[in-house]
């Protein structure tokens, strides 16, 4: 059962990511990344190794089902899961159901999305500062907004 819930959440959020999220994108492609937020959640919940492996697997499947560049989301989500794992606290959800989670999500998403953009735009001469703001920070802020529901979860309602 331990692997079923992450799978169910992944399918639901990936489907929303590929259908609903593009409708709420702003400024030519700035959109939240729900699968990334899920990865960060599992990283903070279970630690670095679980976070990295979850990000790796989510990224692999997401790259395949979305038609994206295979390896790009894998790389970015793995890093996000690992960063989130740094804030894992055994037997303590202080970082999970509080505003701390939003800061962790913002940090992990900024790094991860910026790295993703670097991979995707590796063949283009793009201003790296612009890339950092337009493809790193702004989508990360948008993603963080979608992490807000986690604040309303209680430790016993945990998304397994």
């Amino acid at each position: 059962m331990r692997f079923v819930w992450p799978l169910i959440w992944f399918v639901v959020l990936a489907a929303l990511q590929l259908t609903v999220v593009p409708m709420i994108s702003i400024g030519g492609g700035i959109e939240p990344n729900l699968v990334l937020a899920l990865t960060v959640f599992y990283g903070v919940r279970y630690g670095k190794i679980t976070g990295s492996v979850t990000g790796f697997l989510f990224g692999f499947v997401f790259d395949l089902i979305s038609g994206g560049l295979l390896g790009s989301s894998m790389f970015a989500f793995t890093i996000a899961g690992f960063i989130a794992g740094y804030y894992f606290k055994e037997d303590d959800f202080a970082n999970l159901y509080s505003f701390n989670f939003l800061f962790i999500l913002l940090y992990a998403a900024t790094v991860s999305l910026f790295i993703y953009a670097l991979i995707v735009y590796s063949n283009i001469n793009t201003n790296i500062v612009t890339l950092f703001f337009e493809r790193g920070i702004l989508p990360a802020i948008y993603t963080t907004i979608f992490g807000l529901p986690v604040l309303f979860l209680k430790p016993k309602d945990v998304i397994r």
Binding site: L64, L69, V120, R135
Partner: protein
């Protein structure tokens, strides 16, 4: 000691996963990877299609859909007529011009789209069963939207014009200056155009007859500005694309039959393995 070992293990796992991810990047055009992707998006597209059905309340009615298709056809015809007009004025011969007057459009619903990071891919609910093939152009009612890169029985994966991996041979419809347009994350750019080239803001950019992938005269975009490089010899032309596929619910696949002679010469870079 054991804590250090555990931390080392975490970093080892991270390193292995990152190396595997990076190692996969060059294999994106590998036929086996493409097959795997075709199966994966083909199956998952059933899920996204179901979600799209639920969202249908927000989507255009059948009548509007038909009108959009007519608009798309008319747009292509108008552009073709404009092209013929310009060529008549310039007294160009059309002896070896492709026969592009018989565009057949297949209406397809967008069931999935990925535009995160600014690189766009779409999945349409039309596949091999509907006669869709790899490398067929995709348009919306305004102009070029992308190209079919993979096809399963029921679905087609489209690399949109807002994807840095799609290069389009284009021409300025007024001055006939040729170039290659590509997405740079925020707009289409035609790179390395001579500074003296006659390209003005407001010029219409269309697909070129030199393209071995796209049929000629499909509208691509409109010139916004020309930027001359520091050395003063070459410049980049910024083009605002007509199509905005990330917001469209329906697109049209152009059943374009490529020139077999050109394909037999292996000039078609998109199809070449």
């Amino acid at each position: 000691m054991s804590k250090n070992f555990f931390e080392l293990k975490e970093y080892l796992v991270l390193a292995v996963l990152l190396i595997v991810s990076l190692a996969l990047l060059p294999f994106n055009e590998n036929p086996q990877v493409k097959n795997l992707r075709t199966y994966a998006f083909g199956y998952f597209a059933f899920v996204t299609e179901s979600v799209s059905e639920i969202l249908d309340v927000l989507q255009p009615s059948e009548k509007l859909k038909k009108e959009k298709k007519i608009n798309g056809k008319l747009n292509l015809q108008v552009n073709l007529l404009r092209e013929y007009g310009l060529e008549n004025i310039q007294l160009k011969k059309m002896l070896q011009y492709y026969d592009t007057s018989k565009y057949s459009l297949v209406t397809a619903k967008v069931v999935s789209r990925l535009f995160g990071g600014g690189n766009g891919n779409l999945i349409l609910n039309r596949g091999k069963k509907d006669g869709i093939e790899t490398a067929m152009p995709v348009v919306d009612e305004f102009g070029l939207a992308g190209i079919v890169t993979d096809v399963s029985n029921d679905f087609a994966l489209v690399r949109s014009i807002r994807n840095s991996n799609l290069k389009v041979a284009v021409v300025d419809q007024r001055s006939r200056v040729n170039g290659v347009a590509e997405w740079n994350g925020s707009g289409l750019v035609i790179k390395n155009i001579p500074a003296s080239a006659d390209i003005q803001p407001g010029d219409r950019i269309i697909t070129s007859e030199f393209s071995t992938i796209f049929p000629p005269t499909i509208p691509v975009g409109i010139v916004v500005r020309k930027e001359i490089n520091v050395n003063g010899l070459l410049g980049n032309v910024l083009v605002k694309p007509f199509s905005f596929p990330s917001k469209e619910n329906f697109l049209f696949v152009v059943k374009y039959i490529r020139n077999e002679q050109i394909d037999s010469l292996k000039l078609n870079l998109f199809l070449r393995k």
